[in-house]
């Protein structure tokens, strides 16, 4: 594992050849898609506008708890947290 990780880091080191000091980092492509490819119809509503902050139904507890490794039906149970 250590040998693999070193080989990968050596390979990644070639990014140091590039001078990108003045380039803004890009975290999410959708933040720039609109300015890259203007579309009037989309510009009016936004590329990915967030929904209104109103509660909507979510998953029922019972089917979610059914998948838990250990549960009392209401909570997830885990092994002892503070050992003695």
């Amino acid at each position: 594992m250590g040998r693999d990780l070193n080989a990968i880091l050596d390979y990644i080191a070639q990014l140091n050849e590039l001078d990108v000091a003045n380039v803004q980092p890009l975290a999410q492509i959708s933040e720039v898609v609109l300015e890259m490819t203007p579309d009037v119809a989309v510009a009016q509503v936004g590329e990915t506008t967030l929904r209104d902050d109103t509660p909507v139904p979510c998953l029922e507890r019972a089917p979610v708890m059914q998948e838990a490794p250990e549960t009392d039906g209401s909570f997830f149970k885990v092994p002892q947290v503070i050992g003695r």
Partner: protein, 486 residues
């Protein structure tokens, strides 16, 4: 209607014709589904494309569709079409292992939007498909449930990570499938197996219900035997979804109509960087012939430059592993999936669960991801990766000022042998050298079969288009497909 010797009713019909035939009652969905289930029964043991088969559900759904067709009820455009889904995509009541021991037996309590849309259009889900663990891999050898074999040559890999999705279509174990692509995981296996695979623009298809690997890169897309069929499926699964905040509100065009438009006058860019050292000579010549056929059909072929291409794979392995290390924190043995038994404390439980539940490549990527995000190295790796990501996206934007689409090989070689690259992660990562660029830039693309090697191994051409220009990509891909049969 053509019925082939192999018993698959659908061979020779487009998905559109198939759906119409089921609606009109000329083809019975139940017979269609049964013929596919029989093929799965006969061939899956060799290929290992399916991890689970939902025979009963599929038969019942098909019978309901036939009954609805008899009553004359309105049915969707994919009525009775047998499909299968990569096992990183959730379907209520069916297992979703993500190819990992840590999710063995896990049944999600909800259904992915892309699958819900397929079902609403009448498609029948046959089962879930094998893949590299958490979609991390280029050969399907990282699945905890065994490697998928390439139907074109059983000693070869099908590509990855959506190897099961590509192999199932190639072996006619499903009429169409869904896969996911984070760095090439749809296009590269499509190329290796000789089928069509689509990378939609980031935001075109909802990711709701997709088990996350690298959220800023992950996309769901279709595999099919023809470009038209792939266009048909994309049209069904694409569109805005309030359950995915990154899904776009742009209207979805009629992709089937778009793929039939003539290509005359289409400006096709060919980047020298994708035809350089490391490219197999047969792949090079085969893709060049595909470009010649586009020229013969009236396309204008222009050289373009994507000068930072060589930095794409290292950038990808910084950003994708960083995101993966955060996304995979949720697999802790508390809420779902595997929990290591007989452990005394909570921290032992976390450690043992993750140590026994995750495979080697997943651990490698989590470690790399936490390293590049760690305080002392964040700027040198993660921030730098995000900066180079912008430079790579700008390369494409400049190129698309001059051309409508870009054509390249999908992968540097045809399918390699099982075991050939498993000892050297960097050489495995280079199998994605031509596909990671579009993943980082968020643009759309496709891999379309364009020939076979002297050993009979499929070779794919990759067509890339600007954001939300899937229609143009389908048009060029269909021209390459047609150029083959002329």
């Amino acid at each position: 209607m053509r019925t082939e010797a192999n018993g698959t009713i659908s061979v020779g019909m487009t998905l559109q014709e198939l759906g119409q035939s089921v609606i009109s009652g000329r083809v019975k969905a139940a017979e269609l589904v049964n013929s596919y289930l029989q093929r799965i029964e006969a061939r899956n043991a060799k290929i290992n494309a399916y991890l689970s088969v939902a025979s009963e559900d599929a038969r019942r759904t098909a019978e309901d569709l036939d009954a609805a067709a008899r009553r004359g009820d309105p049915l969707g455009s994919l009525a009775g079409v047998p499909v299968a889904i990569k096992d990183v995509i959730a379907i209520e009541g069916m297992t979703a292992t993500a190819g990992s021991r840590i999710l063995e037996g896990y049944k999600p309590p909800y259904t992915a939007t892309a699958v819900r849309r397929l079902k609403e259009a009448g498609a029948v889900v046959l089962g879930k498909l094998n893949c590299d663990e958490f979609a991390m891999g280029s050969s399907n050898e990282n699945s905890a449930y065994g490697v998928v074999r390439n139907p074109a040559a059983l000693d070869r890999v099908p590509g990855g990570s959506s190897g099961g999705s590509a192999a199932a279509v190639a072996a006619e174990l499903a009429a169409a499938t869904l896969g996911t692509d984070t760095g090439g995981s749809i296009r590269q296996p499509a190329s290796f197996c000789g089928v069509v695979g689509v990378l939609p623009t980031y935001g075109r298809v909802s990711r709701y219900g997709l088990i996350a690997f690298a959220s800023s890169l992950d996309r769901i897309g279709p595999f099919a035997r023809t470009v038209e069929d792939a266009a048909m499926v994309l049209g069904v699964i694409a569109g805005h979804d309030p359950l995915d905040a990154t899904s776009s509100r742009r209207p979805v065009p009629d992709y089937v109509a778009e793929c039939h438009r003539p290509v005359e006058g289409l400006r096709v860019g060919v980047p020298a960087e994708y035809f350089a050292e490391g490219l197999d000579q047969e792949v090079k010549l085969t893709v060049q012939r595909a470009i010649d056929s586009l020229r013969a059909q009236g396309c204008v072929i222009t050289p373009v430059s994507l000068p930072h291409t060589r930095y794409a794979v290292p950038t990808y392995y910084v950003l994708a592993t960083a995101e993966a290390s955060a996304n995979l924190e949720r697999f802790d043995g508390v809420r779902y999936g595997y929990r290591a038994p007989e452990v005394k404390t909570l921290s032992d439980m976390y450690r043992e669960t993750r140590d026994r539940g995750f495979g080697r490549e997943v651990k490698r990527r989590i470690l790399l991801g936490t390293y590049v995000l760690s305080a002392g190295y964040y700027d040198a790796y993660y921030r730098k990766g995000q900066q180079v990501r912008r430079v790579l996206a700008e390369d494409f934007l400049k190129a698309f000022e001059k051309v409508d689409v870009i054509v390249t090989p999908t992968a540097p070689t045809p399918a390699f042998r099982i075991g050939e690259k498993t000892d050297d992660p960097v050489s495995m990562y280079l199998a994605d050298i031509y596909t990671v660029t579009a993943s980082l830039a968020g643009i759309c693309g496709i891999s379309v079969p364009c020939g076979v090697s002297s050993e009979g191994l499929p070779i794919g051409a990759q067509i890339l288009g600007p954001h939300f220009c899937e229609g143009t990509v389908f048009r060029a891909a269909r021209a390459i497909e047609q150029g083959q049969t002329v």
